[in-house]
Symmetry: C2
Subunit: 346 residues, 2 copies
Amino acid sequence: MGEGGRARIEAVTIKQVAARAGVHPSTVSRALNPATRVKVAADKAALVAAAAAELGYRPDFRAASLRTGRSRHIGVLLPDIQNSVFAPILAGATERLAAEGYAVMVADAGRRPESQLAMLDEMIAHRVDGLILATAQLDDPGVTRCLERDAPVVLVNRSEGRSRVSAVVSDDALGAQLATEHLIRLGHRAIGYLGGPEHQSTGSLRRSGFEAAMALHGLTPLAGSIVTTDAYSREDGRRGADRLLQRTPGLTAVVAANDLLALGVYDALGLAGLTCPTDVSVVGHNDMPLMDLVSPPLTTVRIDHRNMGREAADLLLMSIRRQDTQMRTVVLRPELIVRASTAPRA
Amino acid sequence: MGEGGRARIEAVTIKQVAARAGVHPSTVSRALNPATRVKVAADKAALVAAAAAELGYRPDFRAASLRTGRSRHIGVLLPDIQNSVFAPILAGATERLAAEGYAVMVADAGRRPESQLAMLDEMIAHRVDGLILATAQLDDPGVTRCLERDAPVVLVNRSEGRSRVSAVVSDDALGAQLATEHLIRLGHRAIGYLGGPEHQSTGSLRRSGFEAAMALHGLTPLAGSIVTTDAYSREDGRRGADRLLQRTPGLTAVVAANDLLALGVYDALGLAGLTCPTDVSVVGHNDMPLMDLVSPPLTTVRIDHRNMGREAADLLLMSIRRQDTQMRTVVLRPELIVRASTAPRA
DNA sequence: GTGAAAGCGCTAACAC
DNA sequence: GTGTTAGCGCTTTCAC
């Protein structure tokens, strides 16, 4: 590659195009920008277009950005790229953003707030025009930082406690309620709950949904039948389910706050010599890919994460363009997907 | 947010820091850059650091980039963000890249070469310092474009036919061979092959591996027992397996070029009233997440995709830094993971 | 060791 | 409608 110098992407400048077309650089700029093309004579515009095409000219967005103050970059902060919940969110967001000419900077920020803040600062240093955060906690320092920096920001999947910024989330309480009522309808009474981190909206709201559904049907959770975990992982799910089974032996069903946790319940049941759904019914949350293929196929609550990503991008673009300065929360409706991990109480 | 103007991330400039510290902007630049810090007096450096911290100064990478010619952006082109093979690749790459101070621009480029080229051009317009392509075909126009543009590029997961650029791939032929020999060892003779797209290295090499293994053991594939698909999807897998079962009724085992295709084989077997592994053994390729939980747990070939992403990032960084101008191909060793989808021939 | 000055490639306000 | 000019925020060569 190249002639031995430092590796660098070759660049044709606006000046070279101008020289070739025999016009001034600003005319080239105007001719190439759809918004200002009307200001330039048709024949010159054609000349410019031809010259640009011949030279393979691509405007330098960095330079334009420096001048206009808009980078056409959006930062997306994810807690875990490999968690399959976030892939469709990212896909939905990039779909919308790319269509609008925005480039997407992605960071795998991890679970620790400090590392999340560091990556957020990094993105701000790259002068992104706005941010989509999938990392929010109920009280989130990243949101505070964005507010300080006056950076347009939208939360996705998880919301904040005090609603300081726009967010796109699923109705997590409703989802957990649908899951719980499905079990109640199947005759279950001794229903355990395996929750996620309580400092995240998903963890807290889904638990509320479970409790609300139980109360609504005059049921009181048995002592020790609500367990929360530190993270949404299969391993944490297994450990949590172990505790649940040990503390509350009579359980005939478990509502898990997340599919990964539900798979952990499968693991724990297997280890305890129990069978799902014969001995214990299990419901998950998210409807991750392949949940129809695990054994038994998981009854769960489907969330349209791809659409969630799209909506978040739309909200962010509106806020960047100030078409709408309004803070708003979009709540998507989840759907119960009944499969074979739930059965009538024996 | 803000005082009603257009949304914009507030910026503290080097000038403001200089004014506050009572020094010249160039001194601030030198003091803040680790490489040039030695050139500035310790007391002034401390003054600058304090001023920068107080103001919350973050250098504008775009401006620096314009000046230095290096954007510290890397573009990653994926054919499908939602395919779980690419998430760990992206995670591994961002891990390395972020550690080295590079921001990652990601694009979901789709399967069509035209859209891939368009997104590639977009990234080049953003003046990325280099590119990681997970989209490569055996004859890839994107690679040609990068070469024309003199853009540092590394392929990941899929390689090119003529090796024009560096790549990090799994030994796909070996993987398919391991899978096939495992079946042969179990006594299977009538082994079918369900392949992926032939214009991709994975599709072509895995098929060769299958054929090589068969030949090595004196076996000849039955007529019609090799079928290829247009895409690595569960649905294409089901259709392909239908054809396979119909054309070659006596098959007792199937090597699939990919886990998704293998799951499609499960679907087709179910539809045909056959059972895996009792009637037909199945082997996949990739060891996607959850393949241990599907029913039956899938015997497959594990590839360390996260490490693949890391290695690709490393190779790219070396090429950008010209520490090593060498074109090189890193071939990772895959590993056979035996689970319950394969059994001795009945 | 530090300041002055130029300039990366572009856009936009201004002149004509 | 087109050219001129200035400048976005930074780095880096050149003086001193």
